[in-house]
Amino acid sequence: MSSEASSAVGGIGDAFRAYAKQLDAVNERRERLVKASRDVTIASKKVIFAVHRLPADGAGGGAEEAALGQAEKDLQLIRKTSIKRVAQELQDEDYWRFSRAFSPGMQEYVEATAVLHYAKTGRLLTYAEANAELSEVQDAGGQAFRLSAADYLLGITDLTGEVMRLAISSVAAGNKGAAASMAAFVGAVYEGFHVVPMVAELRRDLAKKLEVMRSSLVKIETASYMVHVRGSEYPEQFLAERLAEAPEDRLDPDM
């Protein structure tokens, strides 16, 4: 029988009430960060979807320009709102304390920024470029928010999956030139990841992601190969004539 179990807490109540406050503060901050991170994720995914909705024929034009501009603005908004919220919750040591709470969002943001960057320039968004874009996002102490190397790298692994989807869409839509350059791009990233040392902060996720990356790469190379093999069946001159006969064609005229 423990006579006081029902209500009192003995002398340790004060201490535990103080612990409760500390734990609640930490938990609430973590939840705010998780929410902000989720907002970053959702908004970033929308940007990625928008890139996939770009005309896949590679023809460019005003509509594409506008869509790219809109996506750029959307990313800007993510930085100004949700990532700003993340930054302001973090200061000094809190960055690492809560990194698991906001990492998913930051990785998705890197993925979105990088996929847009690739759609515009055909180049890889660098770590420096990604951090430069974030330089305006500051915490309470005026310190600029920086991506961890791990978040940047893990975001880039997912980028390759998106590039694969772009490649398949391009081929599906008849854009025969895109797959080859995308294969070269993803091949280079894949090779690059092999020179990154397998440190503890990456190891947990990276091995699986690299397998996924390899299968994306093989998918793009196969698509590129099919385009090449089919394309090589007839002399280019013949193709041009043949396709010119069908101006209403859904196929890419610049093949």
Partner: protein, 222 residues
């Protein structure tokens, strides 16, 4: 080629972080060895007699100084990496939990009261603002104290101390109520807390055994 250079640029940054990690791990492993010895010594309490308890407590106290030194080493490493306590926290989390368990249990054996978070840190000569013990690690250590209680009570009663169950039941009951004040969201800590209920239940059963038989400690006047 370009991209390759870019990725090679990460080598330095990542390897530096790995080196810090290895350095911390080395100290942590020494701490782990130390706390294992202390836990082995502490198990002496289960012989159940007053002398056995006193002797076990004394042995644990002997190891306290090396443990403080190792903690100071960890603090020194982390001083060179300000703001990264939680980057490497997972490495020493387990040993800090053991530290909290050991000093809190020894204190309870000596004084019958719960050592606070701040007291645990000062017992280990840590300054919280520099390099402290995470609050949740402290709380997990306190749960471990509770987990040891049923066995302790059983062995004390076996050795003839019939007052122990009531004392422990009261302590655990308070502790259980105190934990209920916390809004536990951390899954691991919550699971450990769930174990407290079983500790208390077992101690209550021992108390019941003693009461129903009207047993009283020999040393007692009554």
């Amino acid at each position: 080629e370009d991209i390759l250079t870019l990725f090679e640029g990460f080598r330095g940054e990542l390897e530096a972080s790995n080196a810090v990690r290895e350095e911390i791990k080395a100290v942590s492993q020494s701490m782990d060895a130390e706390t294992r010895k202390m836990q082995a010594a502490l198990m002496g309490i289960h012989a159940g007699t007053d002398e056995a308890v006193a002797s076990a407590v004394a042995k644990v106290r002997e190891h306290l100084e090396p443990l403080r030194t190792l903690n100071a080493q960890l603090a020194a490493i982390m001083k060179q990496h300000p703001g990264q306590y939680y980057r490497y926290h997972d490495i020493w989390r387990h040993v800090h939990t053991s530290c909290a368990f050991l000093v809190a249990f020894v204190h309870w054996l000596e004084h019958g009261t719960l050592l606070t978070h701040a007291q645990v840190e000062s017992e280990l000569q840590l300054r919280h603002e520099e390099f402290g013990i995470d609050l949740e690690d402290y709380l997990v250590g306190v749960c471990s104290v509770s987990n040891e209680m049923p066995r302790y009570v059983v062995n004390r009663v076996t050795a003839g101390d019939y007052d122990c169950p009531a004392k422990v039941a009261s302590f655990l009951s308070d502790l259980y109520a105190a934990f209920r004040l916390l809004n536990l969201r951390n899954d691991f800590l919550r699971k450990r807390f769930d174990g407290l209920k079983y500790d208390l239940k077992r101690v209550e059963e021992v108390l019941y055994d003693v009461k129903i038989r009207g047993l009283q400690s020999r040393s007692q006047p009554g």
